[in-house]
Amino acid sequence: MSSFKDFQDSFQRGILERDDTILGDVKDSATESRSVLFGVYRHAYVARLAEILGDDYERVHAYLGDEGFARLVKAYIDANPSDRRSARWFGRHMPTFARETAPFSNHREVSEIAALEKALSDAFDGPNAEPLSIDQLAALAVDDWPRLVFQPHPTTIRLTFTTNAADIWSALKDETAPPKLERFPEPQALLVWRQDFMAHFRPFGAEESMMWNEAARGVRFGVLCEMVAMFGGEDEAELRAATYLRGWIDLGLLTGFKLE
């Protein structure tokens, strides 16, 4: 192994593991000791990553306060050395980390607020795609409608929350006091997507959420209508399915269709 390779290995361990071997290579300056000088790099590493996480998870920070967020950030940095060239992806494991790591795992809303922040970022700079317009569908023969299979916009992300984390997020964004924590008896779905360059989210009712999941899996519209009928009752099931579909088109959640 070359000495330059050894040097970089030692330098990196000096930062990540606070191993002092590298100090043997570093010279004291006229005014500062080598440990103070190398400490600039140790400090910068943690400070930079903490700043990245602070930018990415602004609402988690607001919810936990400075002290709580600093604990979360420190634990995350220790457990997740960055493995991507762009800082954009450093914090991507935060929702999973907060869900699985005590004491944050005891507060499910922390992980869910983080998941919403991450999904909004992912939607914001996710792939471009032209949204489907209602005129494109209006041109179809009525007989073709049951054969329609829809293509979701590539920025759509479906989340499932067990708490009112989305309401907490909204209050924190508006810089108002967050509502009292509420745990849902049943998990509730939320859809995140981008429209007109802005990332949005909206809650999904159980029936609409079911239909969205099936549509995203490539199930034909005719079958989707039958599933809606089974889920919420036959009365006006087609109308309900068509209303959901119209809403998705208005919000830019679909990019295309094919006939199967």
Binding site: S82, R85, R88, F197
Partner: protein
């Protein structure tokens, strides 16, 4: 490979999201923009949409922070492919990154880490620059970084190392005025020695920036206005290198655009004064 020396672009700024609207809705007196490559290595959305509009209106150069040209890890071909794809979109006048390393063993420390100035490190960097230039089909532009430590094994000065890299690998240099000032303060060398030690024909860009004073050292934070000492050194650099594309680099505490344009005007004034003095001297 395109080996022509890049053109003089005038006086530019780093493109920052805080200024997107003002730049696109007005016509600020900015000749060109430097964009941070990694910020636009994304799939889509508003940042790329804005970037396209900026590229239609202004000359643009790409500036990266994660090439890790001096790392002993394998070259990250995924990163280089993404960089090349972005370059095809932006058509930058040049592509720059830092003469440093950012990590090994698959880790990125998100910092511009220092190199011991040894023959071994030099050979390694020269080889890597050549590989990257072959892949990108163009010459790279490398920037000197600020550093806070020096190493016992160094066999040459920083300016000797930088010059050797540029000459042997046949690449361009981005001369960061502030970084030379910061390192000279931290390591006790003369900024003039650095200046005189760099080959004039290799320098295609200046960075001018602010920094933070700690107790007994300076940290290159790029979050303050440019101080008088750095402006003085800029004047010396313009006198030495002549007309070089100049950019005010602010990475944090981003002020209103007008404030940066004012700093840019100050750089223009200095360059004009230096030019007038040089012409008057030549006419004598």
């Amino acid at each position: 490979m395109n080996t022509n020396k890049p053109p003089f672009l005038g006086f530019g700024l780093g493109l920052r999201p805080q200024h997107y609207e003002e730049i696109l809705s007005g016509s600020p007196a900015i000749d060109w923009f430097e964009v941070l490559s990694e910020n636009y290595m994304i799939a889509g959305g508003q940042p790329l949409h804005i970037l396209d509009q900026i590229c239609e209106r202004y000359p643009v150069v790409m500036h990266g922070v994660s090439l890790s040209i001096a790392s002993t890890a394998k070259l990250d071909m995924d990163y280089l492919r993404d960089l090349k794809t972005l370059a095809e979109r932006v058509k930058p006048k040049w592509i720059s990154d830092h003469l440093c390393w950012t990590g090994v063993h698959g880790v990125n420390l998100h910092d511009l880490l220092p190199i011991p100035y040894t023959e071994e490190a030099l050979n390694h960097v020269v080889d890597r620059v050549s590989q990257v230039q072959d892949f990108l089909g163009r010459r790279l532009t490398l920037e000197n970084v600020s550093s806070y430590v020096t190493f016992g094994q160094s066999e040459m000065t920083e300016w000797e190392f930088v010059s050797e890299v540029a000459n042997r690998a046949d690449c361009w240099l981005l001369f960061d005025i502030n970084n030379v000032y910061v390192s000279s303060f931290n390591h006790g060398f003369s900024t003039d020695d650095f200046l005189q030690g760099i080959p004039r024909d290799r320098v295609v860009q200046f960075h001018v920036a602010g920094h933070s004073h700690e107790d007994d050292h300076i940290v290159d934070t790029h979050d303050h206005p440019v101080c008088n000492e750095v402006w003085d050194f800029y004047r010396e650099a313009v006198t030495h290198f002549g007309r070089v594309s100049t950019m005010i680099e602010r990475d944090d505490n981003i002020p209103p655009l007008a404030e940066l344009v004012e700093e840019l005007d100050h750089a223009r004034d200095i360059a004009r004064e230096v030019g007038e003095t040089a012409r008057a001297t030549a006419a004598e």
